[in-house]
C-alpha cells in the first residue's frame, strides 16, 4: 500500500473541565480518545456516529483549529507542524467546509471577496484572486456576473454552501474535510451539492473526509467508512462490506435505525435505546456495553481493540476476535 495522503495516529483530545477549589482535579470531557486511521489518495472516508461522538472534534483537530492533547497527524507521511511541513502549507493542502453555511461566511464581505481571501493569504495578487474566485463560482454552478457581488444573506442555503465549497477549493487543496456539509440542506438541494462534490472530486483528484450523521448519504459518497462511538472507533471498513456485513453491534444497530423501504418489513422496535453515556466518565471496558444487546461480563472489564493494524475491515468488539472470552467470539455478529 502506498503512503496514505492523510494519516492520524492515536489522536486524543480531552477538554478539561473548569474545576473550582473543591472540584475534582483532572476530570475532562474525553471528546476524542485514541483515534487512528489513514486515508488513501482519491478515496472518500465517511465518518459516522451519533451527536457528541467526536466527529466534529476530529475534523477540527485535523484542521489544527484546536490543539490535540496528544497524537500525530501526518500528511503524505510528514508530520504536520514540523519544518518539512509547516502548518500554513498543510492548510493549503487540506481545507474544510463547515456545516453552517451562513455562519461560515463573513456577512460584511461579498461572495467573491470571501473566496478570494485565502489565495491572497498565500501570496496571490488581489486581481488574480478575484479572477480565480469568479472562475470557481462558475465551476460550482453560480453565475459570476449574478453572484460575485452579493452578500451571504442574499443567497439560499444551497447557494451559500456552493460558495463555501468554492472558498475551500480556492487554494487548490488535495484534501477536503466536509463536516456535515450537506446536513442543513433540504433533500433536493443536498442531492445537487453531493453530485457537485462527486464531479469536483473526479475533476480535481480530491480526497474527501466526509463527516455526517446521515448513513444513506455516507454510503452514497464514501469508499471507506469509519463508525465512531463516544470518542473511539467502533468499526472501520470498505463501505459495502461495512453496510452489508457489519461486525460491531453498534454499527448493526445504527444501520438498523435506517427506515425500511419495504412496507411489509416495517421496523417495530427501536434498535438502540437511550443516550450515549457521559464522555466525562465513559463506562469501563467496552464503551458500548451499557447499550449492547450482546454484552457479557468480559465487555465491562476489558476494552476491545480493533485487532491488529492494517486490517481492511476491523471492529473494536470482543465478538469479532477469537479468544477474547466472549461466548459469541468465534461466530459472527447476527
Amino acid at each position: 500500500m502506498s503512503t496514505p495522503i492523510l494519516e492520524v495516529v492515536d489522536l486524543i483530545k480531552h477538554f478539561p473541565l473548569a474545576t473550582g477549589l473543591l472540584g475534582r482535579a483532572g476530570s475532562a470531557v474525553r471528546a476524542v480518545d485514541g483515534v487512528s486511521f489513514a486515508v488513501q489518495e482519491r478515496e472518500t472516508l465517511g465518518i459516522v456516529g451519533e451527536s457528541g461522538c467526536g466527529k466534529s472534534t476530529t475534523a477540527r483537530l485535523l484542521m489544527q483549529l484546536i490543539v490535540p492533547t496528544s497524537g500525530a497527524i501526518r500528511y503524505q507521511g510528514q508530520t504536520v507542524g514540523t519544518k518539512a511541513l509547516p502548518l500554513k502549507e498543510f492548510r493549503r493542502q487540506v481545507q474544510m467546509v463547515f456545516q453552517d453555511s451562513y455562519a461560515s461566511l463573513n456577512p460584511r464581505l461579498t461572495v467573491e471577496d470571501s473566496i478570494a481571501f485565502a489565495p491572497t493569504v498565500h501570496g496571490v495578487s488581489g486581481d488574480q484572486a478575484v479572477r480565480k474566485a469568479r472562475a470557481l463560482l462558475d465551476r460550482v454552478g453560480l453565475e459570476p456576473a449574478r453572484f460575485a457581488g452579493r452578500y451571504p444573506h442574499e443567497l439560499s442555503g444551497g447557494q451559500r454552501q456552493r460558495v463555501n465549497i468554492a472558498r475551500a477549493l480556492a487554494v487548490e487543496p488535495r484534501v477536503l474535510l466536509l463536516d456535515e456539509a450537506v446536513s442543513a440542506l433540504d433533500k433536493s438541494v443536498e442531492a445537487q451539492v453531493l453530485n457537485l462534490l462527486l464531479d469536483l472530486k473526479d475533476e480535481m483528484g480530491l480526497t474527501y473526509l466526509f463527516i455526517s450523521h446521515d448513513l444513506e448519504v455516507v454510503r452514497f459518497m464514501s469508499t471507506q467508512v469509519l463508525v465512531m462511538y463516544l470518542g473511539r472507533i467502533a468499526e472501520v471498513g470498505p463501505t459495502e462490506a461495512l453496510y452489508t456485513a457489519s461486525r460491531h453491534p453498534y454499527t448493526t444497530a445504527l444501520l438498523g435505525s435506517l427506515l425500511s423501504m419495504d412496507p411489509d418489513n416495517r421496523r417495530t422496535q427501536a434498535p438502540l435505546a437511550g443516550d450515549p453515556p457521559n464522555p466525562i466518565d465513559p463506562p469501563p471496558g467496552c464503551r458500548f456495553h451499557t447499550r449492547c444487546a450482546y454484552a457479557e461480563p468480559v465487555c465491562s472489564t476489558r476494552e476491545p481493540d480493533l485487532g491488529g493494524v492494517g486490517l481492511a475491515h476491523a471492529a473494536a468488539c470482543h465478538m469479532a476476535h477469537p479468544g477474547t472470552g466472549h461466548s459469541r467470539a468465534a461466530g459472527r455478529v447476527a
Binding site: 455562519a103 461560515s104 457581488g149
Partner: protein, 294 residues
C-alpha cells in the same frame, strides 16, 4: 506556490449595496435621527464659523451693562455678569464644549478598541489579565475618576482631555472585548484560520468590519456624557479656565446671578442639554439603522 487562475475576463458584475449603504438608506428614512443629525451638524458649523456668526466680541465686557435680560436692544440673549454678549459667548462656547466632548471619546475609541479587540481575539489568560486591569478602573464612578485625575494633574484643557480619555477607555474596551469575543468563535473566523491567515490579517479583514460598527455607536453615545463631564470639570474650576467661553464654565460663573436673571443662567445649561440630546438621538437612530439581520 499557487498556479494562476484560469483566464477569465473581469466582466462587470451586479453588485449589491453594501452594509453601510443599507444602513445609510435606513437612517435616512428615520425622521428623528435625521433631525438630530441636522442639529449636531448645525452645532458643528456654529463652532467652526463662530467668528463669522457671532455678533459681538465674546471677551469684551462692560461693567455698565451687566446681567441684561434676553431681548435687550443689541444683545438678543442679554449679557453675562461681566457685561459680555451672551449670544456670542454661547456661539463661541460650542467650540470648546464640542471639542471637550468629542476629542476624549475619539482618543479613548482608539485606545479602548485596540485593547478590547486584542483581548477579545487573544482570549484565554491574555484576555483575563487585560480585562481585570480594565476592571480596576471600572471600580471608580466615572465622575469621581475624572475629578480625581484632573485634580491631580491640575486645571487646564489638556489635563481635562487626558483625564476624560482615561475615564472612557474602560467602557469602550469592555464593549470591544465582548463584541470581538462573540465574533472570534464564528465559523468564518475559523475558516480564515484554516486558510492559513495570521491573527493580524484575520483581525484586519474578518473581525474589524464586524465589530467597529457597534463599538463606534457606543463611543458616540459617550460624546454627550463626555460633554457633560467636561462641563462639570469646568464648573468645578478643573477644566477650562476663565475667561474662555465654555458652557459648563459659563454655568458656573452665572450661578451667582441665579436670583437676579434666572433665564440668563439657564441658557448655557440649555445648550448642553440640546447638544447631548441631539447626540443621544443620533446614536439611537444609528443603532437601529445598523440593527440589520445581515
Amino acid at each position: 506556490m499557487l498556479q494562476t487562475a484560469a483566464p477569465v475576463a473581469l466582466v462587470p458584475i451586479e453588485r449589491s449595496p453594501g452594509y453601510w449603504a443599507t444602513v445609510w438608506s435606513r437612517f435616512r428614512r428615520d425622521p428623528v435621527a435625521v433631525g438630530a443629525g441636522l442639529v449636531v451638524l448645525a452645532l458643528i458649523l456654529m463652532a467652526v464659523f463662530a467668528p463669522l456668526i457671532a455678533p459681538q466680541d465674546p471677551f469684551k465686557g462692560m461693567a455698565l451693562r451687566r446681567l441684561r435680560p434676553p431681548g435687550t436692544d443689541g444683545y438678543p440673549l442679554g449679557t453675562d455678569e461681566l457685561g459680555r454678549d451672551m449670544l456670542s459667548r454661547l456661539i463661541y462656547g460650542a467650540r470648546l464644549s464640542l471639542f471637550m466632548g468629542v476629542t476624549p471619546v475619539l482618543l479613548a475609541l482608539g485606545a479602548g478598541a485596540t485593547i478590547g479587540i486584542v483581548a477579545g481575539y487573544a482570549g484565554g489568560w491574555v484576555n483575563t489579565i487585560m480585562m481585570r486591569i480594565i476592571d480596576v478602573f471600572f471600580a471608580f464612578p466615572s465622575v469621581l475618576l475624572a475629578i480625581a485625575l484632573s485634580g491631580a494633574l491640575g486645571a487646564g484643557i489638556a489635563n481635562g482631555l487626558i483625564s476624560l480619555t482615561v475615564v472612557f477607555i474602560p467602557p469602550i474596551a469592555r464593549i470591544a472585548e465582548s463584541v470581538t469575543t462573540s465574533v472570534r468563535t464564528r465559523d468564518y473566523v475559523e475558516a480564515a484560520r484554516a486558510s492559513g491567515a495570521g491573527p493580524l490579517r484575520i483581525i484586519r479583514t474578518q473581525v474589524l468590519g464586524n465589530v467597529m460598527g457597534p463599538i463606534f455607536v457606543y463611543a458616540m453615545s459617550l460624546v454627550a456624557v463626555s460633554m457633560i463631564l467636561a462641563s462639570g470639570l469646568s464648573f468645578l474650576g478643573l477644566g477650562v479656565k476663565p475667561p474662555e467661553p465654555e458652557w459648563g464654565l459659563m454655568l458656573n460663573t452665572l450661578r451667582t446671578a441665579m436670583y437676579i436673571q434666572p433665564l440668563l443662567c439657564a441658557l448655557p445649561g440649555l445648550m448642553i442639554f440640546l447638544t447631548s440630546i441631539a447626540f443621544n438621538m443620533l446614536t439611537d437612530g444609528l443603532r437601529s439603522a445598523m440593527d440589520l439581520k445581515a
